[in-house]
Assembly symmetry: C2
Homo-oligomer: 642 residues x 2
């Protein structure tokens, strides 16, 4: 079976009308939401199954039985619900579609341009309460909303879902105290305590200890229940509902992947990776899961004498995949291990992304030199600072979207000590475009390029990873930021055989006497390369493509020579134009005192990154080869393309 099956909204309507207990109805409803969640993710090609499934019983019960919603008045009297962790969005979307809060055609639009972003976004999705996905902000946001409610005379409750791995973030604890001091009893936090974070058990990553005691010590009223037992959860809600003068927390014990037997996080060995945190299920896993959910739903329908479930099939969409892609992360793993073999001072820190950042082989080989820090980027970065002060050479790993902004002050503080810390920031840039702007790191160059002594570099292919890492470790005195793209990329160029990493100097990937496109990284340089090919074919223009892997410096002499005889310079940033490499180059060109200035134009993001498939997103921002070729051709020929 290659089709993907969805539960039509009419089926949810039918379930709401069935003669059955609230408890049974909620169980059936949640399972149908699981089915749609699973199918949305299978159709999209990626998404978070485990976390959606663990939270769906809670979300279902809140919407069906607890919250006052949709009285049709815009007076702010409806209760609010949002998830702080955000990556349970597919489950939330499924529930909202089931209730008619989102149009049903969104079932096919998860992680598509103009559809439902991988993490919640208020600008593009109706009825979403707040943007989440950067962990730890939810309770703070709810407090602000309640301050507004108090000032505006509104009376309603706010329910905030958090993850358990998310509780490692300092902002959670920073946010708790004043909620108690201000007696925010309209606030109920529900911890989806599924015991797993992205990679492995929470207790193996960074154990949370006695959660109940912690929240109680911060002045919160604490309840605890089985998050899959609707009666127990309902009782916990009733319990906290009676408490006045305190914010409340319900620790809901859940199971990651709940509802599909082989997706449930039971009986995993220590350090065994949970397989369904993100990504899409294989066709076989999808079929098995669909069968299981359908079977259980039909049993429930049958029990009350109702017709079996009617599903609607959609053809599994074709997906364009790279042909012979290069992968930067495995190249990094190899380079790191080689460096660590040669230098015993090298240690690696991880922020709960050991799989994605390529650190598992390092941990296996150098267990004493590896530190798992959990989802606690500030703490991780300052720990690295302490290590560096004591003679180690720490490399700090996370996704760029988390590693660059959250510990910005800690990175600056480390740099102020003139030690060496290397920040290895993966998942950098606009793509993958599916997770949404909380995960698209397109501001990180701006964040750290000004720090004295901070050298920032991004490899444009697998072969460039080792030379850049080597330079940051041994050639450069201060700290470094190694920016890594995580998606597989087809690379149409090769570095010269005698390639050396020379700070501030670039390397020509494609010759061209008329003009030059300068950029970095395996996302934009291939687009630039293809654009140059198109410009040759269409206009006979010889446009060079130059790789400048240095993100915050350019050598003036090299730049002057590179521009010789060329009448235009185009820069392409996998980043906002403002604060990106292109503006840095433009400012450097302005200072060269050239007799004749080249035409200058910078490409990159000027708006928040769109969410969608990678090719959609590049096109939406005019950063695909075709758009670049059009814009550059227009600039060089003075003619607008047909």
């Amino acid at each position: 079976m290659t089709d993907i099956q969805f539960v039509p909204v009419t089926e949810f309507d039918r379930v709401r009308r069935l003669n059955m207990s609230d408890l049974d109805r909620a169980a059936l409803y949640a399972d149908l939401c699981r089915l749609n969640t699973l199918s949305m993710i299978a159709y999209a090609g990626s998404g978070h199954i485990g976390s959606s499934f663990s939270s769906l019983d809670i979300v279902t019960w809140l919407f069906l039985n607890e919250m006052k919603t949709d009285d049709g008045e815009a007076d702010g009297s409806d209760d609010l619900y949002f998830s702080s962790k955000g990556h349970d969005a597919p489950g939330l979307y499924a529930a909202m579609i089931a209730l008619g809060k989102l149009p049903a055609d969104n079932l096919l639009k998860l992680r598509r341009l103009g559809g439902l972003p991988g993490h919640p976004d208020i600008a593009t999705t109706p009825q979403i309460v707040t943007n989440t996905g950067s962990l730890g902000m939810g309770i703070s946001k709810a407090k602000g909303m309640l301050f507004a409610d108090r000032l505006l005379g509104r009376d309603r409750r706010i329910f905030v879902m958090t993850g358990d791995g998310e509780l490692q973030e300092g902002q959670i604890w920073e946010s708790l105290g004043s909620a108690a001091n201000h007696k925010l009893d309209k606030l109920t936090v529900i911890v989806d305590h599924n015991k797993f974070q992205s990679d492995i058990y929470v207790r193996e990553t960074s154990d949370l200890g006695d959660l109940e005691a912690k929240f109680a010590a911060f002045g919160w009223y604490v309840a605890r229940c089985d998050g899959h037992d609707f009666a127990a959860f309902s009782a916990a809600l009733a319990d906290v509902g009676k408490v006045k003068g305190k914010p409340k927390i319900i620790i809901a014990d859940t199971i990651k992947g709940r509802g599909v037997s082989f997706m449930e996080s039971r009986n995993l060995a220590p350090r065994e990776l949970y397989r369904f945190h993100s990504g899409a299920p294989s066709p076989e896993d999808y079929a098995r899961a669909l069968d299981e959910l359908t079977l259980r739903a039909n049993h429930a329908f049958d029990t009350v004498g109702a017709e079996p479930l009617r599903l609607k099939g959609e053809a599994r969409p074709a997906r364009s995949l790279p042909q012979a892609p290069q992968r930067i992360i495995p190249a990094y793993t190899e380079a790191l291990i080689a460096a660590a073999d040669a230098d015993k001072r090298i240690v690696a820190l991880d922020g709960d992304l050991i799989l994605d950042t390529g650190l598992i082989p390092f941990r296996e080989k150098f267990p004493d030199r590896f530190l798992e820090c959990g989802i606690a980027e500030m703490d991780m970065v300052s720990q690295a600072g302490g290590m560096a002060l004591q003679g180690l050479v720490p490399l700090v790993h996370s996704f760029a979207c988390f590693l660059a902004p959250r510990p910005a002050e800690q990175i600056f503080n480390n740099a102020s000590e003139h030690t060496k810390v290397i920040y290895v920031a993966s998942l950098a840039g606009l793509v993958p475009g599916g997770p949404g702007h909380s995960h698209q790191s397109v501001n990180d160059i701006a964040l750290h390029s000004a720090i004295p002594g901070m050298e920032m570099a991004e490899p444009c292919c697998a072969a460039e990873v080792a030379p850049l890492l080597d330079y940051l470790l041994k050639g450069h005195k201060g700290s470094g930021y190694l920016r890594l793209v995580s998606i597989p990329c087809d690379i149409p160029y090769e570095l010269p055989a005698d390639y050396r990493a020379v700070p501030g100097h670039g390397v020509e990937l494609r010759p061209g006497k008329d003009a030059v496109i300068v950029g970095y990284g395996p996302v934009m340089l291939p687009q630039a390369y293809q654009a140059a090919e198109l410009l040759k074919a269409r206009h006979g223009l010889d446009v060079a493509v130059v790789n400048l892997p240095w993100l915050n410096r350019v050598n003036a002499a090299w730049l002057r020579k590179m521009l010789e005889g060329r009448r235009a310079l185009f820069t392409v940033d996998n980043h906002f134009v403002r604060g990106g490499q292109g503006r840095m180059i433009a400012a450097a060109v302005a200072e060269l005192g050239l007799d004749r200035m080249p035409i200058l134009r910078s490409f990159g993001l000027t708006e928040l990154p769109a969410c969608g498939q990678n090719d959609e997103v590049l096109r939406a921002h005019g950063l695909d080869a075709e758009s670049l070729a059009s814009a550059i051709g227009e600039t060089l020929t003075g003619k607008v393309a047909a």
Copy 2:
């Protein structure tokens, strides 16, 4: 008496040899350290008395009686001590000087160029363990050091001092869990629990609740004692010393300003501001405090039959003060209140700096629309985001050094919601130069200039505050960053009578046909103005000075016109050159497609900001009028000044 009296190091040597109990000796020693702390701050003209005094008994006891230090071997076996809060540095310096760990001539060099920075800095001060001053990083750093110790086979203890207001920072709680999980029993944290944060009582700002329960819930061993009772503190150290397998915390109950009766934070009314948090004592207060400390010391000497204290006097240094300064913060207060009168949606949030950010009148007038958030910038910013989502217009206040970097991710997240939040960042820029680089915000433009919709502006005089605030509130659709200088500044120019804030457009403050200096703010524009006067007097050059209050945008048409007929453009940033306004302007000039490019040169910081008096610091970075005039004169005349 105008002299400032210091305790010579020989007197500390004498005390260490006196025949008295360890307890009595520590008390005398700490008082003599207090005396030098007080005198260093009086001599420097600013510094943190209250926090130094509350922590000095602890520091004294640790150094005299507890820690293994200075065995002369560089094997890392010595115990380490550092303060995470950092602003108790004058007390620490006094103790280190007393022990011969720092040269005695440093007594006269607090907050001076090449001397002792306002907050600890390892690069410039021997035996300082780590750079602190940005709150909340200390425990994380110590954990990193202990990881290194474990890997390198070192066996020693680390003592970390924290403040109590500092415990509002999320990083503190983020750092606690893994210390317990890793059983870091070499780590002892001591909370200088003086019950006051910068402005008022901790409990009035953001109450900490049951501290002992909180730390215990995080798996730490908790002891508590009177931090001014040496026997009790010694017993607490012995107690925690016996505990294995857990990190330990000693909550030391102390009194801010301890040791000088009228500086002690006893019996203050709620919301009464504590007067000795930072700044220098008045000459009268200094004399009274000196008398009291001397009297008590002499009593102690007398009790053991020793000679009275011998002090060494130094003439109180002359200080150059602004003649008729303008103050930006009071102008902001006035503009804010006017705006809030007109728009009920406006609310203000503060991060424990209500006095410095000028919010007291706002709180008095609009108590319901004011939220004190404590030292919890991430939480504050996300709360503002929640308020904005619910229809309020929040203005978030703190020092730029804390408001820009710590909540960088939260600011981005708010911006992704397309709401309006105004970040009002005071103490921006290189000066005051006394507190050191943790407080010199010279990276903040870079941090946030790339965010779509974020408008950044800085007024160049008191009169420009209201128009800019007004534009950010009413003229601009998205969020804004209002960058404010906090020191009083002599302003040699006036805005034109018909001044209007036009985004991306600047205004000429001084005419000049030959060249132009463009900048912003009341620190650099007066320097530029004076430099232009010098250039006229010395070389007959007509150099214009232009105020461009917009930090991350410039209008191309305005820029083109402004450059007409001028052969050189100089930019002056109160910020790093990289990521500053000057580079933004240079890139814009490069794109203008001018027939003849002007000479371009950007002035600003290229290294970490130096610590010292304001004039020293400006000169050290070549940003005073004299240095600017030399550099510009050299560029324009081609001759190096004599």
